[in-house]
Amino acid sequence: MIPVDSIDYCRDVLRRSGSTFAMAFKVLPPHQRDAMTAFYAFCRLVDDAVDESGDTQGARAEVARWSDRLDKIYSGKPEGQVDLALGWAVEHFEIQKRHLELILEGVAQDISVRTYDSFDDLYEYCYRVASSVGLVCVSILGELDAELELYAELTGIAVQLTNILRDVGEDAQRGRIYIPLQDLEAFGVSRQQLLEGREDEALDDLFRFEVARTRHYYNMAQASLPGGRQHELFFAETLRETYLKLFDRLEQFGVRLDSPKVSLKKSEKIGIAAKRRLHPGTIIAAMGRRSRLYRHHHVGGQSHG
């Protein structure tokens, strides 16, 4: 069983964050909801710890501390409340340690790296900060196999590229350039130009190219998941579709250095979630899952958690 105090603590972290995930997780079955909440709390606390650490050295120390905590979780000796809840989720859903470590590596990379030379380098970063999250999520929401691994990886890349394009102006103001320097060079855009926020035709072309690349990853992510599994993974699909809609809007308005942050209204997010949740395929998949659980509990005589 998941320790009650621990999951309550994680729920509190989720509630205090003000994230829409608090509402979104409610559509999940209880065990998945608890595991996702624990995982969210882990990510939130790691992020907060790094943000509040003050300087690079402090941030690195925080990442190292969380890395030790992961070791303890995986050796069956979790210490904090979040660790206990995450430890339960890790055991219950067979979450791979490597995927959680990748998240920490991503956070560490974000502290020290301010530019990326090539798309190869950027891809690695996106894999660490976003695909890793996707991999943990699909481990909780479905059974991780090669198909889902590819889906999680590609979705993570698409989502992170969307974030990068959406925040390109804001990041430049903070001295960060995520768009590969090789691309800048190919399109005749200087690093200085981006940092100073000077827009011209070359920068426009560069952004359109990056948008096209991101679209390519959404296409691949969608194709990587078989039709039947879309319903099984309706929650992950809801997240992907929400980001896709955000990306569509970004593409529609065009990526700009000085434009206000593109976002979706709460009603739009609810609309996407409702459409996915109420899809007959999702309902049938949920019934199948319940009947499997019933057999597992009552016919097999075993009990979860």
């Binding site: 798309f119 190869d120 891809y123 894999y127 695909s131 090669a146 198909e147 691994e149 590819l150 990886e153 590609l154 890349i157 190919a186 399109f187 005749g188 072309d205 359109r208 190219f209 096209a212 690349r213 679209r215 390519h216 296409n219 691949m220 969608q222 194709a223 990587s224 998941l225 078989p226």
Partner: protein, 321 residues
């Protein structure tokens, strides 16, 4: 006769076509140990067909599943090459990206495919015993097209068309199981007609890149030359040159028409769709005339559906006039 009364549909220049693959082919080495399964790869290709060419996607429903999947794979690979060749957005990276795409095809031939389109194509090629040289010739012609290009006469244009669309046409015929020599000849004529139609349609995109598919001797008949065409051609002369090129292409479609009738079964339906689509696009090109200098007519589902209904009402063979 097919009747089209709506204004010419024009795609905005400089924007990516809907559903463009927009690949960054150097991304192919990515994915952390995950590879594309054949099923997922075919799904990807079919998605590309749906996004990029809804007309073709509809026609694909008419043919057996295995053939449809193989055609989707061919389409996806060709679409990447075509986007890289044509789309302005790729201009800074065009040559290297096309070369990478060709290399990934060679990898696919050696069982090392990584991109989903290539995984699917490699599978289809072994399933339908497709000669890899045909795809290679097509990709080489795309690389050739990525730089300045012009021709002396129509023979040269047709030869180029044969190695480009013609090679792909042969792949498609092989997948459809239509390998009779007369069918292959007509298919080649159809490929040439489609190629010229597309290149006339793309005049506005090709000219700034010094790609001219109206050959020099044809231009000379209308008092034009390469230089005038690249600068500011008199629209009257250009209209006449385009109109005569359209008429010439129309004849090639007529030469290819027996393919539609003789192919038989579902292939007739599919090829009729391609043939009619090409003819309709040619008509739009004709209507655009000198406006092709700054616009690129496109074939919407609506126009195509109306064309098909018109053809259906008047019976297909009656279309050939």
């Amino acid at each position: 006769m097919i009747k089209i009364s709506s204004p010419v549909e024009v795609e905005k220049l400089g924007t990516l076509r809907s559903g463009s693959l927009a690949p960054w082919v150097n991304d192919l080495s990515h994915t952390h140990g995950c590879s594309w399964s054949k099923e997922a790869s075919y799904r990807y290709c079919q998605k590309i067909v749906r996004q990029s060419d809804p007309n073709l996607s509809l026609w694909m429903h008419l043919i057996p599943k295995q053939q449809a999947k193989a055609l989707a794979a061919v389409y996806a690979v060709a679409r990447v090459a075509d986007d890289l060749t044509d789309e302005e957005i790729f201009s800074p990276l065009r040559q290297s990206a096309l070369q990478s795409w060709k290399t990934s095809f060679e990898d696919a031939c050696n069982q090392k495919a990584r991109h989903p389109a290539m995984v699917a194509l490699a599978d289809s090629m072994s399933r339908f015993d497709v000669d890899p040289d045909l795809v290679n010739r097509f990709l080489s012609s795309c690389i050739e097209e990525s730089g300045p290009l012009h021709f002396e006469n129509w023979n040269q244009v047709e030869e180029f068309a044969k190695s480009s669309f013609g090679s792909l046409g042969k792949v498609v015929m092989g997948i459809l199981g239509l390998e009779r020599s007369d069918l292959m000849y007509w298919a080649e004529r159809m490929s040439v007609a489609l190629f010229i139609t597309c290149r006339l349609r793309d005049l506005s995109v090709d000219l700034p890149r010094q790609k001219v598919f109206l050959p020099s001797d044809h231009l000379a008949e209308y008092g034009l030359d390469l230089q005038t065409l690249l600068n500011a051609p008199p629209t009257d002369s250009l209209s006449l040159a385009i109109s005569s090129a359209v008429e010439r292409t129309r004849w090639i479609y007529r030469e290819a028409y027996p393919l539609v009738v003789e192919a038989g079964g579902y292939a007739t339906a599919l090829l009729a769709g391609v043939w009619l689509g090409g003819r309709t696009l040619l008509r739009l090109v004709d209507r655009s005339s000198a406006a092709l200098l700054y616009s690129r007519p496109g074939l919407s589902v609506f126009t195509f559906a109306r064309t098909m209904m018109g053809a259906g009402l008047e019976r297909l063979p009656g279309v050939v006039t």
